[in-house]
């Protein structure tokens, strides 16, 4: 499993490692822009930056006219057109025959975009997280098979308390008797979010922001939403369209109760998405902002200012790192717990 995983990394990074170094020209001495740097880190990217090394990732594009195309992002990273495409601010657009693009008055490109299926930094980080999960949990499962009825050992004993935590502290009390059906999903999201969060906290490996990406958080929240809806019993739906135990005038002539319940129904996945996205992204932004302070002071007051503020900055970012480690676990816990509570409300048997 691990070897397979390494092979994927090598395959993905082999799209031309060279060509990319010492290409830090687009700054062009216009000073340090903290906002841009931070957003650049937090947003998705077609490259992985490890120190000065830029590892280009594969770009996969689909359009009706040109079909499926795949090439290295290094072809587009300099803002030059390639093969009828151009990339600006990590977005890929079609170009005309001569490589020109239409722009509006503010300089924004107005051209059509192909469907971007690229293995971006986030997709890569996602695969990395999933590969880690497969490796860890399949070896844990093997450990249980090998040492049947014995005390856990190695990685097995690291993961067992967490698995038991999800099983006994999250799933069982929130869902009740039918918890076992939802346990694989809960364990998967818990460990995906936790490991993904931790991956984003490791410095120098490219600054992954997997779980802090709204698309990733949204997909997980949608899975929770779909599973809740599919498993919702009669009582669950009845509570939404005809809540029992409320005065009739809340339902007729204006179906106030239904409106409220329906808002609650659709806001659950949205809230799940935004909470995870905002918490993780905010953590990344804060740490980067503290680090950026050094460069801002360096620009304002010279090297002395930079060095001076670096003491504070580093102290604060270490503090934030410690908090983020906690948040990484906490958000995984909260997401899993809320999912479990939604499942619990869907399968709950009411005795009216």
């Amino acid at each position: 499993m691990f070897r397979f995983f390494i092979a994927i990394i090598i395959f993905m990074t082999s799209f031309s490692l060279f060509a990319e170094q010492a290409e830090e020209k687009h700054g062009e001495d216009k000073g340090f822009n903290a906002g841009e740097v931070i957003m650049h880190h937090v947003m998705d990217n077609h490259e992985i930056h490890i120190g000065p090394i830029h590892i280009p990732l594969p770009i996969i594009l689909y359009s009706k006219e040109k079909g499926l195309e795949m090439f290295s992002s290094s072809k587009l990273s300099h803002g030059e057109p390639y093969n009828g495409y151009i990339m600006e601010h990590e977005k890929i657009y079609f170009t005309g025959e001569d490589g020109s693009v239409a722009r509006d008055d503010h300089g924004h490109i107005t051209a059509e975009k192909p469907f971007d299926l690229s293995i971006t930094k986030t997709v890569f980080g996602m695969f990395l997280t999933m590969g880690l999960m497969l490796w860890i949990f399949i070896s844990v499962a093997k450990g249980y098979k090998k040492r049947e009825g014995q005390a856990p050992k190695g990685i097995q004993s690291v993961m067992e308390p967490l698995i038991l935590f999800v099983k006994d502290e999250i799933a069982k009390p929130s869902i009740g008797k039918k918890y076992e059906k939802f346990l694989p999903f809960l364990l998967t999201i818990f460990f995906f979010i936790w490991i993904g969060n931790m991956l984003g906290l490791i410095p120098f490996i490219g600054g992954f922001n997997v779980t802090g990406n709204i698309a990733v958080a949204m997909v997980m929240a949608l899975f929770t939403f779909i599973i809740t809806s599919v498993n919702g019993n009669k009582d669950y739906w009845k509570h939404i369209y005809n809540t029992p135990g409320v005065p009739w005038w809340l339902k007729f002539p204006i179906p106030l109760m239904f409106v409220i319940e329906f808002i609650g129904f659709i806001s659950k996945p949205i809230v799940l998405t935004l909470r995870l996205f905002a918490n993780i992204t905010a953590g990344h932004i804060i740490i980067l902002a503290f680090v950026s302070l050094i460069f801002i002071f360096n620009n304002l007051y010279g090297a002395g200012g930079g060095y001076g503020v670096s003491i504070l900055s580093v102290a604060f970012s270490i503090f934030m790192f410690a908090i983020e480690l906690l948040v990484a676990f906490l958000q995984a816990y909260v997401f899993t717990l809320l999912s479990a509570l939604y499942f619990g409300s869907a399968v709950e048997e009411h005795a009216h």
Binding site: D116, T120, F127, L134, F137, I138, A141, Y144, M218, F223
Partner: protein, 164 residues
């Protein structure tokens, strides 16, 4: 660049990858892990229960033992008591028979003595008769010689006989 707008490509990748990882982990990891944890929980429950049972059995055994001990103790007491009584009885029996024997011996000794006494008395009577005869013989002999001397002789002999 709006971080709030989800990229469609990413949504697609995440959906597919998440389904795949969910399936793979469910099949190859969670199933085995959950089953193993369940088995172990049951095993621990069972072990605790059987330990509890063993404990109950132990205490049962202990109380049985105590009962046996108590029984043995009372039995010993009873045996000792019986022995003591027997000793007492033997002693008293012995005393009674001894006193009876003594009485019997005393009684037989008394009859013997009585018999001896009677015998001795009859012998004395015989001797008295003999002595009287011999005295009478001597008196008769002395009368033949001298009256006075005969009288003194008779007196003499009478005195002697009284002495006897």
């Amino acid at each position: 660049m709006n971080p709030l707008l989800p990229e469609l490509g990413l949504v697609l990748w995440m959906s597919v990858a998440f389904l795949v990882i969910l399936f793979l982990l469910k099949k190859f990891a969670w199933k085995g892990i959950i089953q193993a944890l369940k088995d172990r929980e049951e095993f621990i429950d069972r072990s605790l229960k059987s330990a509890e049972e063993a404990k109950a059995q132990m205490s049962q055994l202990k109380s049985d033992n105590e009962k046996l001990l108590a029984e043995a103790r009372t039995e010993r007491e009873a045996i000792l008591k019986e022995a003591r009584e027997m000793k007492e009885k033997i002693l008293s029996d012995a005393k009674i028979s001894a006193s009876e024997e003594g009485n019997r011996l005393v009684a037989s000794a008394r009859t013997e003595i009585e018999k001896e006494k009677l015998q001795a008395l009859s012998e004395i009577k015989n001797q008295v008769a003999e002595i009287s005869l011999s005295i009478a013989e001597k008196v008769i002999k002395n009368e033949l010689t001298d009256k006075a001397s005969q009288e003194s002789l008779v007196n003499d002999h009478l005195n002697k006989a009284q002495m006897n």
